[in-house]
């Protein structure tokens, strides 16, 4: 086959993914004068970013002037259990405020303080009210602002166009083959650089807050092209997903409920989070209900309620309560804001939660508590990138947003993703522009590579019979849900890995009915090859991290081990299959370490040099 038959589109840069990270990256590329294209599996404005609820973290200091990039940085490192890439966490904390102000310049309308500034709310792990927000629909405001801005920047948006695989020329990226959902036809993008912004892979689990798009496509494509993945063992289970009715199990209940005063109760009516305060956070967490209430009333001397501990801690606590027989009727915990705040306040601050429970569960959250339980929510791990340029180890290949790894370490703080998207989206755009400027010579896409990608995709349609892709996907979800869950053991992980290996045979035999035109069965079948890479990477990494840190909990290796801070786990493709290796971490710059390990008094007094 010769790809001269195939539609070919040329751009300097192709951005894969139109969530916050992808659009922000594309805007930067266009700003730098590059011809820029952006593709997405769904329509523009429908990416995951639209679902983000609680807010975007940036130390604007509008509500509490004691906040600064240093405190944000310290919170992020502590939340990430010090395993974050230091430089990424630094850049993020320093640049987030400018990225938020820029959104306002582009038309975003955040909720306001009495003084008419951007309002900020409390969130787990953030020392001060730090999340700029719009009720509980912050993601919608952000993606719409970016979308409306981007359509006037001369960027070519190709909607419902799914990337299948990258094309390389030697070691450099030179293109990507994808297909249009509408027609099922293939398209080759010839490019000088590619920025992956495809988000996470939550659809590998059964109970998840993620949509059908989150099948780890960027991770799979990067991996097959020789890029490395990092920190894949750290998958975030959000403590509060809906647990009833069954059809909505996993759908997110924003942390904003707790930020605005919601408390967690077990079936005995006990506010159990007081029993789960880790030593490290004890000095900064309220230890009586009275103190927690004072905090809610705005007493600056009071410490934060334990419901706002980091997500890993709260998720495990709920799981333990359920296991101890103190769960709610449908196997979760009660999240109560009705008895804490007036109905009008709840409807104003949490309108979409009010709506969601009213319509999907027939529960009025201004009168009754919600039932919630852990749900797979976010990938801390992802494609390994250079902290400044966002370039991977494959020249010309960049990654940003949730599909990139390193920024959040072992656990992400709520609100730090939306800011991550914008900060690193912009930097990836800069990185790609610099790379293209230094590029010499022509890049080619070989017929052979392009044809191979296309053949693999059409084989699925050409088979006479085979496995039902939906059922194979369900099987994969069952494996991860049972063996690679919120708490893990070596034995279970090894079993899970075995099961995944067996599943590969089924994946090789999936088959899709009918034609390629808008065929979700075929689309699902194609996603499986990325899901399996994602699932295997998480399992392998989890198996060799023999300690419990952040979102990764091993029953057979309790607690953090000092040794665990010395390495990150890096996944890559080798001749003999997938390898997972411990790669030594460099020591942090002294100035950053000083800030991260400083006491709050030291930071607030600002007597640190950096």
């Amino acid at each position: 086959m010769d790809y001269s038959d195939i539609q070919t589109i040329e751009h300097d840069v192709l951005v894969v993914g139109a969530g916050g990270a992808g659009i922000r990256a594309a805007i930067e590329c266009a700003e730098k004068g590059l011809s820029t294209g952006i593709i997405s599996k769904s329509l523009l404005g429908k990416a995951h970013t639209v679902m983000a609820e609680g807010g975007i973290a940036a130390s604007l200091g509008n509500v509490d002037s004691r906040d600064s990039w240093k405190v944000h940085f310290r919170d992020t490192m502590r939340g990430g259990k010090f395993l974050n890439q230091w430089r990424m966490a630094e850049l993020h904390a320093k640049q987030a405020p400018d990225r938020v102000r820029e959104l306002e310049e582009w038309g975003a309308v955040f909720d306001r303080t009495d003084k008419g500034l951007i309002n900020q709310r409390n969130f787990g792990g953030h020392r001060y009210p730090r999340l700029a927000h719009v009720g509980d629909r912050t993601g919608l405001e952000i993606i719409r602002t970016l979308q409306d801005f981007c359509v006037h920047q001369g960027i070519s948006t190709h909607m419902e166009c799914t990337g299948l695989d990258l094309v390389l020329d030697g070691d450099k990226v030179s293109g990507l083959v994808g297909y249009w959902r509408e027609t099922g036809r293939f398209v080759l993008f010839k490019t000088k650089a590619i920025i992956l912004a495809t988000g996470g892979g939550g659809k590998a689990w059964k109970v998840t807050s993620n949509s059908w798009e989150y099948t780890g496509d960027g991770l799979g494509m990067a991996y097959r092209a020789g890029a490395e993945l990092i920190d894949m063992e750290f998958t975030q289970f959000h403590p509060t997903g809906m647990v009833w009715p069954p059809s909505v199990k996993g759908i997110l209940v924003t942390e904003g409920v707790r930020g605005d005063g919601g408390i967690l109760l077990n079936s005995e009516g006990e506010r159990f989070m007081f029993n789960y305060i880790p030593k490290k956070f004890a000095s900064e967490t309220a230890d009586t209900e009275a103190e927690a209430s004072r905090w809610l009333d705005g007493d600056r001397e009071a410490r934060r309620p334990p419901e706002l501990l980091t997500r890993d801690v709260v998720a495990r606590a709920i799981k333990k309560e359920v296991e101890a027989g103190r769960g709610s009727p449908n196997g979760g915990a009660f999240l109560d804001i009705a008895s804490r705040r007036p109905a009008e306040f709840i409807k104003k601050k949490l309108p979409s939660m009010y709506h969601q429970f009213k319509e999907l569960a027939e529960i009025d959250i201004t009168e009754k508590p919600m039932e919630v339980g852990p749900t797979l929510h976010y990938f801390m791990g992802g494609i390994r990138v250079n902290s400044d340029s966002q370039q991977t180890n494959v020249p010309g290949l960049f990654a940003c947003g949730e599909c990139a790894g390193g920024m959040h370490g072992a656990n992400r703080l709520g609100g730090n993703s939306l800011s991550d998207l914008l900060v690193f989206g912009k930097l990836a755009g800069d990185g790609a522009a610099n790379y293209i400027n230094s590029l010499t010579g022509q890049l080619n896409c070989s017929n052979e590579e392009v044809s191979k990608i296309i053949k693999e995709a059409t084989d699925i349609l050409n088979r006479e019979e085979g496995k039902n892709p939906y059922l194979v996907h369900e099987e994969l979800q069952n494996i991860l849900q049972s063996y690679v869950s919120i708490v893990r053991t070596g034995e279970e992980l090894a079993l899970g890995l075995d099961e995944l290996q067996k599943l590969k045979a089924d994946i090789a035999e999936v088959f899709a009915h009918a034609s390629a035109q808008y065929n979700p069965g075929w689309n699902e079948a194609l996603d499986l090859k990325n899901l399996i890479v994602t699932a295997e990477a998480v399992t392998r990494a989890a198996l060799i991290r023999e300690e419990s840190r952040g979102a990764h909990t091993r029953l057979d290796f309790e607690g953090e081990h000092d040794d665990g801070l010395k390495y990150n786990i890096v996944i890559k493709k080798t001749e003999s299959g997938m390898s997972a290796e411990k790669v030594r971490r460099e020591d942090p710059p002294v100035e950053l370490a000083d800030i991260a390990y400083a006491s709050l008094e030291e930071l607030e007094g600002d007597n640190l040099g950096a």
């Binding site: 719009v134 009833w244 808008y518 979700p520």
Partner: protein, 247 residues
């Protein structure tokens, strides 16, 4: 319990209604039933969705003749023996099954002159008060499901897509025109290009909006008033411009 569904299957050239039965689980929504049908009977049944929680606006279809979000329509809204018919949005061309070509909407959005902010007063932060933003925050809740576009008779029955941008983009225009920081003037275009005069205030759009945005009363009518003020009462307009009354 089992329920009967009638789903439109086909493409831009031909199509027909097909029958399916689905076993119900507690709390199911119509989108869940469609997904069951995909898994069990029709792997290739095309439908758009993302969030499954009424936040992304992907899953708009017509259920028993009414434009609705499939992910927010609970099965217990129907009487036990009611057959549930699902078909694609009528106002837009079908691509396949329940999926329509909504690209016209994206073209309308592109025609709208973008946000143009005034200078920052203190060089660092824009100051906007709650009372000034509340009005446009209502419009900014729009999830672009296009149910209002689907139901608006100007687009649906009269097919005057070249004359009217539709309710969705009227409120987008309203959100820009009423933005406290914006200094672009879109009123002439709202009259001449975007077709504010085409709307005859039937309020059908407001009735179907899943975000309960008061599209007509809070968005379209005030825009119409601005057009009237400008074109039929220019003295008043100059006065307002000079003395800052821009309500």
């Amino acid at each position: 319990m089992e329920r009967n569904f009638i789903i439109w299957r086909g493409n831009s050239k031909k199509g027909e209604f097909k029958n399916y039965t689905v076993k119900l689980e507690p709390g199911m929504v119509v989108l869940d039933a469609i997904h069951r049908i995909q898994v069990e009977h029709a792997n290739d049944l095309a439908v758009r969705w993302n969030c499954k929680a009424g936040k992304c606006g992907s899953c708009g279809v017509e259920i028993n003749g009414r434009p609705k979000l499939a992910c927010m329509t609970r099965m217990n809204e129907f009487t036990p023996d009611e057959v549930i018919t699902v078909q694609p949005l009528k106002t837009f061309p079908v691509i396949k099954d329940l999926v329509t070509d909504v690209s016209w909407n994206y073209e309308q959005n592109k025609m709208i002159p973008p946000f143009k902010p005034r200078e920052k007063k203190n060089g660092k932060d824009h100051v906007m008060y709650r009372r000034d933003v509340e009005r446009i925050q209502e419009f900014r809740k729009c999830i672009e499901c296009y149910l209002c576009q689907d139901v608006c008779h100007v687009l649906r029955d009269q097919d005057k897509k070249e004359k009217f941008v539709g309710p969705r983009f009227m409120i987008r225009l309203a959100s820009l025109e009423m933005h406290p920081l914006d200094r672009e003037d879109r009123i002439p275009k709202i009259k001449n290009e975007f077709g504010s005069g085409m709307c005859n205030i039937t309020r059908c759009c407001t009735d179907v909006c899943p975000e309960h945005i008061q599209i007509t009363d809070n968005g379209i009518i005030p825009l119409k008033e601005r057009v009237v003020d400008r074109f039929y009462d220019p003295v008043m307009w100059v006065f307002n411009k000079l003395f800052g009354g821009r309500s």
